[in-house]
Amino acid sequence: MLKSTYVPSPAVLQPLPAGWTEHKAPTGHTYYYNAETKESTYKRPVAVPAPMKPMDNYHQHQVVPQIKLSDPNVANAFMAQFAPPPPQQQQHGGRGGFGGPGGRGSFQSRPRPQPVDKPRSKVAIPGHEPWVLVYTKYGRRFAYNSAKNASYWRIPEKLMPAILELDKERIRLKALGKSLDEKDEGDKQKSAAGPSPRPATHEDEAPAHDYDSSEYEEVEVTDDEGDEQEDGNAPKRQRTEEPTENQGPVEFTEADIAAQLAAMGADYADDEEGEYYGYDEEMGEGGDAGVLLSEQDTRELFKDLLNDFNINPYSPWEKLIEEGKVFDDPRYTVLGTTRERKEVWEEWSRAKIQQLKEMRAKESKKDPKIPYLALLQEKATPKLYWPEFKRKYKKEEAMKDTKLSDKDREKLYREHINRLKMPQSQLKADLKKLLESVALSALNNTTMVSHLPPQVLGDIRYISLDPQIRDPFVEAYIQGLGPPPADDQLAQEEEDEAAKKRREERKRREKALEERERAVAEEKRRQEKKVRFERAKLREEERELERAMQVGKKGLQSQLGVMDKDAVMDDAALM
């Protein structure tokens, strides 16, 4: 017990993921609490380790020649060399992104303040070269097939899993990334952005490719299929023009964007995965999804859990914690603290023990004589003396039951043998007397001969007659009886009703728990998005700094020449 309650050396523990804190339970156990999601667990949460994929790690994913891509101008110059970029080069980009500073276009209130959107960065979609995901200045994105030279606002379904992976990576990166320190800053900017209440630009990790500069390739997305605009449900398909160098940026017009938004919005509105259509959901605090669980419900759910896991109510609390088998059940964390859990456990174990006691009391009323008399009926014979009988049948359960003393057994044996010598008429009269002594509620015309009440079965008079004579006799007697008293039936029905109510009650709170779990997951998702958003803000600030240190055009090109020859990875530059 002690061993398991000792906390392992902190040296072997990994740092906790963002949002988690370590606490000590009154039991001495260490547990972990996430203030954001209100989760608590005994299992030390770990940041999901990034799998070894090129896109996973900031420091490793670059497959492109060494270039200071963090400098947008360098990046642009680099991009310009590959127009259109060969597929394997598409790996480049990916990180170091940002949402545009004014990128708060919202599809609820149309992006009136900034009607001009343009491609800003792109990231290769792993496994789907030459497809790239292009981010716009306003933080929207579209899929671009560089081989076919076609763009799609509506991301083709076959790309979804890969993009989902990309997004997951970004979410994972958040664990390694910055905290929400800049939150306030972000909120301020949000409100400064004007009338749009739903900021839509939260894409981060976009590649450092600035299309603003006129000398580089422009990916131009124009709406050349305007007829589709009317159909809100039709996937919006856009073509790009042949990319040419040194051409001025072609802008989205307000109408274009409005149409795109309308087309996307229709799908987006009821789509859980809305962000894959180019938008993140609102960043609001939210999370107040209807939680239907009352405090009583949470307690009952915890008790259900204890019952379902067949927890021994006599066992100490520490055992429950040490075994830990209930930890993974959502009903375990339905109570927020260990103190509460212990309290409910105590209440539960007390009641449960009481219940068991009552059951046992009922059971002990089951006369231990009954199985013994049944044995006598079957095996006892005047030919055997008690010691012989005892030895012969010592293995029988009825002979071992400690609730009946050997003295009593012997006495019953002798009495039974004596009664076997009595005339049948006498035995029948005795049996009738016995049956008449039983109340109508226990013995009536609905009683089955195979299920006689204990007071009959535990009486020596019952076994004196041979069953072949006895049973028809009892049967005849029962048929002459009246029906069971009415209130008995009523009591039975009431009991059934109560059981039904209990079942329904349980179903209801389990459903409420499910609901709450869903709300928690939703809140988690929100938080993740928030983190991504904050991260994007941070990147944008970095970006501003970099812009301030822009290299001259000439110097840049000569720099590029050198890099081209010396194609070595440089990841640190991206940070």
Partner: protein, 148 residues
């Protein structure tokens, strides 16, 4: 044949023992493990801490079953005390005001401690300096004042 006679005379445990038999066995095994655990690189005064703590937990377990949950009968409780499953003297202390959480008897025996006073673990948290972490020498207790 004295051995056989003794065996036949041994009384079975009172009713209800089967309810707690398994958990008592677990405690028993833990106790054995603790007693047999190597103590080579553990400071001498710490070597017996696990034994004290398991003994405390087992006594507490029985105490709660009898006094708080009324889960076991008087006969069974007495039988458990008689058979050393619980420390009757320690339980006697728990029933006294101010000693409800006492860790072990040593911690209230003034003579054995260095300062001729009760153990540091008996001092309420409120009277300690902020953030002061205490652990008593005799049983490893980190604080067992009733008001904590």
């Amino acid at each position: 044949m004295p051995a056989i006679r003794a065996a036949s005379k041994r009384k079975p445990p009172p009713e209800g023992f089967t309810d707690i038999e398994e958990d008592l066995l677990i405690f028993g095994n833990k106790m054995k493990d603790a007693q047999n655990a190597p103590t080579d690189n553990i400071p001498k005064h710490q070597a017996q801490w696990p034994v004290f703590q398991i003994s405390h937990q087992r006594s507490r377990y029985i105490y709660e079953l009898y006094y708080e949950k009324e889960a076991i009968s008087k006969q069974l409780y007495d039988w458990l005390l008689k058979n050393n499953y619980a420390d009757a003297l320690l339980i006697a202390k728990w029933k006294k005001q101010g000693y409800e959480k006492l860790c072990c008897l040593r911690c209230v025996q003034t003579k054995e401690t260095n300062f001729n006073s009760t153990c540091i673990c008996r001092v309420p948290k409120a009277q300690l300096k902020e953030g002061q972490d205490v652990q008593c020498v005799s049983c490893g207790c980190r604080g067992c004042a009733s008001c904590d």
